[in-house]
């Protein structure tokens, strides 16, 4: 209702832009308050993240992670299931990737990629299946069970890394390095095929394309297939879905499987594409950022993509900031928080005045 008064184009462009602007203004004040120059900081961030193919590479690398976890949350949300378990599912996805890469010899990365993606998806989906099933069959609240499964996943992974995967005598609780055949082509190699120069440094790799592909796939699934139709109907109204003969149990389980698989796929990027081995805490909160990404992207794959880029920018820009200035790294977290707050929760604060402006122009 409150949205009806501004044109759609303004709602999807002006409102978020103005919100992000507000968030940055407040961040700027904060930077100024701790005695640094906001203008220089902003410039450093933008240049660091977008000013070179090096910066782009890292921005896109982080964004790839967030696309996967963001999509995972978004898909579940379409069925009104709040999957907070992306973190744990991605951890398990990492285990899947590691097992596939370590215990099966692969002649070529492409085969390894397919198998590892499957491994990641299956492990992630499996980890989401239990909470999904319990929600569907026993009504156990999915928010609690997925939170619990995050903790359990961390323990499980700790056990695997310390006691099973760690090579004898190694200090580090991590798996051995994967065989070099499983190394994924980086973006610069892919672009190189087309003669486009790109920095060789950043770990952004072919997973980015998978992530973008997943955005399309999820969009297609949700809005062009029967399953998507059923998922959305179930999410909008359970009684109506039941009336339409859509089984709540089946949809809940399917959605959680898809969501978990997407979260698990994140490991292809971070574990196989970057680290080339499984380390403790390989996910590093990307599962939680995925919640913010999905919510900001309004649970739409395209929105998730944009929000993921925004967070990739904050991550990479923030890294540059931490590298070249005395601004503490936690300030980046604050900026992230402000962006989430203004674009995601306080959006009406800018929408209402913008609507007023449009109303005034319309009245003339």
């Amino acid at each position: 209702m409150s949205r009806g008064r501004i044109p759609h184009w303004a709602d999807v462009t002006l409102v978020p832009l103005a919100s992000v602007f507000l968030a940055f203004v407040i961040s700027g004040i904060l930077i100024w308050a701790i005695g640094e120059s906001p203008w220089a900081a902003m410039k450093l961030m933008v240049e660091g993240a977008f000013g070179s193919s090096y910066g782009w590479g890292y921005t896109l690398f982080y964004a790839t992670n967030f696309i996967f976890t963001g999509l995972a949350v978004a898909v579940a949300f379409q069925a009104r299931l709040f999957n907070i378990g992306g973190e744990g599912q991605a951890l398990l996805g990492g285990l899947g990737v590691a097992l596939v890469c370590l215990y099966i010899p692969w002649p070529h990365w492409s085969l390894a990629l397919i198998a590892a993606s499957l491994g990641a998806a299956v492990f992630g989906a499996g980890w989401a299946l239990i909470p999904g099933y319990l929600q569907a069959k026993r009504g156990s609240h999915i928010v609690i069970t997925t939170i619990m499964f995050n903790f359990i996943a961390a323990s499980l992974l700790g056990y695997f890394l310390v006691n099973v995967l760690r090579p004898q005598g190694a200090q580090d609780p991590s798996s051995p390095r994967f065989p070099s055949e499983t190394a994924l082509p980086k973006l610069h190699e892919i672009l190189g095929v087309f003669g486009i120069p790109f920095s060789t440094v950043p770990p952004v790799n072919i997973s980015l394309l998978i992530a973008v592909g997943m955005c399309f796939a999820v969009w297609f699934m949700l809005w062009r297939t029967r399953l998507g139709f059923q998922i959305r109907a179930f999410g909008e109204s359970e009684p109506a879905a039941e009336y339409a003969g859509i089984s709540p149990v089946r949809i809940t389980v399917y959605v959680m499987l898809i969501s978990g698989a997407l979260a698990g796929l994140m490991a292809v990027n971070s574990v196989m594409g970057e680290q080339q081995r499984l380390v403790l805490n390989a996910v590093e909160g990307a599962g939680f950022i995925g919640i913010a990404v999905a919510l900001m992207g309004r649970n739409h794959p395209f929105g998730v993509f944009l929000a993921a880029i925004l967070f990739g920018f904050l991550y990479q820009g923030g890294a540059e900031l931490a590298l070249w200035t005395g601004i503490p790294r936690e300030l980046i977290v604050v900026i992230q928080a402000l962006v989430i707050l203004f674009t995601g929760a306080l959006d009406n604060m800018v929408r209402i005045p913008i609507a007023r402006i449009f109303a005034m122009r319309g009245a003339r």
């Binding site: 026993r138 359990i152 310390v162 939680f288 503490p328 929760a345 306080l346």
Partner: protein, 321 residues
């Protein structure tokens, strides 16, 4: 398990459950009024930081507690502004508050104390003193009662008892007062409250503010009662556990107490018994650490059944006839 061990574990449970209890009741009141709050964690964290830093600066823990409550209420009102006034997404607002807290506490702590996002260690009056309940010493050697009263109940910081007191108070407020009736109504059907001539917005802000007070106490207890100073991210997921306990308790105060004590007990047990031999198999540390969470899932799946939140929860109120 011998009796003294049980007493010790339960004493630890009392301490571990206290911040959970405050936070759980905080979430309960907010959600009963229809405002979902996954920002409990963030509010606790900010409060923990405020309590520790102001207690350190002033040398008086109670000034610190007051500051903690103040800042936590301010964060709550921000959540209110987003989710009540501007009808924004309550979940996003909560997520934002968690991020904000994680970042801002460290930034400010670093700016104030230059100890890497930590506050200096507290001592003396800047920490919460332990209180011996009346006759605790006298009853100490009485069998059964002695260990329970002296060992488990007595000798905690004041806020532990305040938390316990908050349970009947919350119950009374919700189910025996006019405010509570309206508060519950606004979480179930705000239109009913609105058409009855009561301000939906006012009630929800009221609930959110109370939530802030309780989160403030939770955080203050963490940094000045349980430990002696603030360390970054020291809430360590307790806000989420409190949320879980709240759902577990199906938004009822006495059940909430039961739930947080169960979580506290599980944590205390996991702390105490890290290596257990079961049928000759030595359970790895990780298994014991995961045990509380596994048990929670099992209990939830096995015994609790469907938890139905307040019906108008999570959505801003928009008038419709």
């Amino acid at each position: 398990m011998d009796f003294m061990v049980l007493v010790q574990v339960l004493e630890s449970t009392m301490r571990l459950a206290t911040p959970l209890l405050f936070a759980c009741l905080a979430g309960l009141i907010s959600e009963r009024a229809g405002v979902f709050d996954i920002g409990l964690e963030g509010k606790m964290l900010v409060a923990a930081f405020m309590a520790a830093s102001i207690a350190f600066v002033s040398g008086n823990v109670w000034i610190g507690v007051a500051a903690a409550v103040g800042v936590s209420v301010a964060m709550s009102l921000m959540h209110g502004l987003a989710s009540i006034t501007f009808r924004g997404n309550q979940l996003i607002s909560g997520v934002a508050i968690n991020f904000l807290a994680a970042g801002i506490t460290v930034v400010i702590a670093q700016n104030w104390f230059r100890q890497g996002g930590r506050t200096p260690s507290l001592s003396g009056d800047a920490r919460m003193a332990r209180i011996d309940l009346p006759f605790a010493e006298a009853l100490r050697d009485v069998p059964v009662i002695g260990p329970i009263y002296h060992g488990i109940l007595s000798g905690h910081a004041l806020l532990v008892y305040v938390a316990l007191l908050c349970v009947p108070l919350t119950w009374f407020m919700l189910f025996r007062t006019r405010f509570g009736l309206r508060l519950r109504a606004v979480g179930e059907n705000p239109a009913a409250v609105d058409t009855a001539g009561v301000s939906v917005v006012g009630l929800r802000y009221g609930a959110v503010a109370i939530c802030g007070v309780l989160c403030g106490l939770a955080g203050a207890y963490l940094s000045t009662g349980l430990s002696a100073g603030f360390v970054k991210d020291m809430t360590a997921g307790r806000g989420f556990i409190a949320l879980a306990a709240m759902i577990f308790a199906k938004w009822r105060p006495w059940h909430a107490m039961g739930a947080v004590f169960l979580f506290g007990l599980l944590e205390a047990v996991a702390n105490r018994f890290q290596n257990i031999d079961i049928l000759g198999v030595n359970l790895p540390v990780q298994a014991m650490q995961a045990l509380p969470y596994i048990l929670t899932v099992v209990i939830l799946a096995g015994f609790v059944g469907k938890a139905i939140p307040p019906r108008a929860g999570g959505a801003a109120y928009v008038k419709e006839h």
